[in-house]
Symmetry: C2
Subunit: 149 residues, 2 copies
DNA sequence: TGCTAAACGATAATTATTATCGTACTCTCA
DNA sequence: TGAGAGTACGATAATAATTATCGTTTAGCA
């Protein structure tokens, strides 16, 4: 009954319509064992011993594939370039994972006291931000128009 | 009594020990009037009509200066490269603005219902994240050691 | 097993950002 | 108010991160 890691990964890939390749398996396994927040380069360094001929481009492509299909997440989605926030008031953001648009959400009342209490002692808090990720209305409409069922 | 924008900016610069230059004034004024989340390139395009000989490098340097001194903020601080989140459980992050280290915070109970309610109708929510920015204990210790008073 | 589409590896190209360096400007301080 | 020191600016080269290209290999499936 005990399903192996490999079997679970194959199952995941089938669900997401991804070909099961050795490279993807190793990258997934190693990433899941890294308990920090690795960069693509760090993932590359980590899998290289087991896959000596792997290309850095493959690591990038694989990580993207995993993020797109939801197998893994990135810490904070890349906007391509630095983005300035001219709005000085505290407000949450909605970030579209498809078009990368950043939308201000109206102010809200979150319990920041609880959050701040979870910050390790000796850390200095500067700012607290919240972000909702998903697909914006525009993109959803566009998607529906392209693939009507 | 009515303080002009220029006077307020000069005051801000004095507080932060920044030289008051025409370029800085124009960049600050224009950024504050942009109600989206502009990239450095977009800021450059915006100030160019008024400062035809300005360099893109100056825009970058000025924006950094403003961010460092707290005159403006960036939407999500640049980690230099993509960062993978292998931890599938929801948890907030602490991001050190000095060394860029990303620390997992322990889980907490925020009122996500209120936040989700603020998302525009027709948007699809995928994930909600919270982030605390500041200076980590390491950096604070390092800073204290370098400038003991 | 054999075909076809997808994935991979090598590497070139692009994009975003930072560094360098000579010139210009700002800010004291006479 | 003018000189000098130091910072900022502009032009541009360099670097870092990411993406595109393309020939070869492989996975999925009949
Ligand atoms: Mn905003
Ligand atoms: Mn994390
Ligand atoms: Zn969108
Ligand atoms: Zn730090």
């Amino acid at each position: 009954m005990a399903e192996s890691f490999t079997e679970r990964f194959q199952q995941l890939c089938r669900e997401k319509n991804l070909a099961v390749t050795h490279q993807r398996l190793v990258i997934y396994r190693e990433v899941m064992q890294m308990h920090n927040h690795p960069s693509p380069e760090q993932v590359y360094d980590r899998v290289k011993p087991e896959l000596p001929s792997i290309s850095l481009a493959t690591v990038y492509k694989t990580l993207h594939t995993f993020v797109e299909t939801g197998l893994i997440r990135e810490v904070s989605p890349h906007h391509g370039s630095m983005r300035i926030e001219p709005n000085e008031h505290r407000h949450p953001h909605f970030l579209c994972l498809q078009c990368r648009a950043i939308t201000d959400l109206s102010d809200h009342e979150l319990d920041f006291a609880a959050l701040k209490a979870s910050v390790p002692a000796g850390f200095q808090v500067e700012h607290v931000s919240t972000e909702v990720r998903g697909i914006c209305g525009n993109c959803l409409a566009k998607n529906a128009a392209q693939a009507p069922n």
